[in-house]
Symmetry: C2
Subunit: 190 residues, 2 copies
């Protein structure tokens, strides 16, 4: 028997009701997203979502783009999975990077991402409290509104730490390449 | 006025007639593709292609994954674009890599790709004779049959050089990770 394949494609859909209640939505760069009372996260392509309900964002998990083996080993030792019972708060952060980012070569992007911005090292400091899953959108098709969707979950008492994590990233040189960013905070509906 | 966006999504469709006549199709690893007399290449998502006509493969151009700035500069100095009038021969080579490839980290993949396999250096030797465009499929969705589609064009007298290029790549350690590969050779219909 084969294990069922691990889902890679996820959708995040605005909805009138659902398991995650929106507490706050903030557009940090570029256009925001329409207000919605709730968010539904599903392992599918979003085609099941009613258009009337509002926006649907899609992303696909993929191979690592920057992490080195030594970093991956450290991350694997420290991180925990999504969905812990105490993780009743979440955030969805859709990001679009500029054309100037995408024309950089691999060495140039890694230089900005880690040597200048310590993206991996910053995230590491907040493990295991902050769990995350990165979804790529840019290569789903030419018309996607964002390049990345990151989904985070954490316990309510870890939200200030999460804010410090975001603050450190947003002050880094990598964020000079972010042209659209929305920060959506959510609470699990019990 | 804005320039129209450069197309990123392309489809390669089996067809009864079309601008490229299939000369030869060979499955080098894994399952082949059904025989077809002709191939159509279009800058769209393939939904315009009749299902009755046969298979349709889709891929999207994306940012470079391995090339460093010094290599990119060298490539840019030497390469020519697709569609030169003398380039009346073409090849479509769909490839799927193994799960073992995709769990490697960036440094490990670059090590196999260039330090061990000289993928960029080998391709460089055949510039400008062999022009190419790489399309990614893996992040279009979870159900794509291939990870990459590479389209090449060249003059008839350069086909032996193209065969040497492929031979060098196929003997390299990178090809230990190739689990499906089809080699489709085409001639332009005048």
């Amino acid at each position: 028997m084969h294990a069922p394949p691990v889902p890679r494609l996820f959708c995040f859909a605005a909805a009138a009701s659902g398991p995650w209640r929106v507490q706050r939505m903030q557009a940090l760069a570029g256009a925001g997203l329409a207000d919605t009372p709730c968010l539904v996260v599903r392992a599918d392509d979003g085609s099941r979502s009613s258009q009337a309900a509002g926006w649907v964002l899609r992303g696909i998990t993929s191979n690592d783009r920057y992490v080195l083996r030594a970093e991956k080993t450290q991350l694997a030792d420290r991180q925990q999975g999504l969905g812990r019972s105490a993780a009743t708060r979440a955030a969805l952060i859709p990001i679009r990077k500029s054309a100037a980012w995408w024309v950089l070569t691999q060495d140039e992007r890694r230089e900005v991402f880690e040597a200048q911005s310590a993206h991996i090292a910053i995230g590491m400091r907040y493990l295991p409290a902050i769990a995350r899953r990165l979804h790529h959108c840019r290569d789903l098709g030419p018309g996607e509104p964002f390049d990345f969707l990151t989904w985070f979950d954490f316990a309510p008492q870890d939200e200030p730490a999460f804010d410090r994590l975001l603050d450190a990233l947003r002050r880094s040189p990598e964020w000079d390449f972010v042209e659209r960013e929305v920060d959506i905070r959510l609470a699990r509906v019990d």
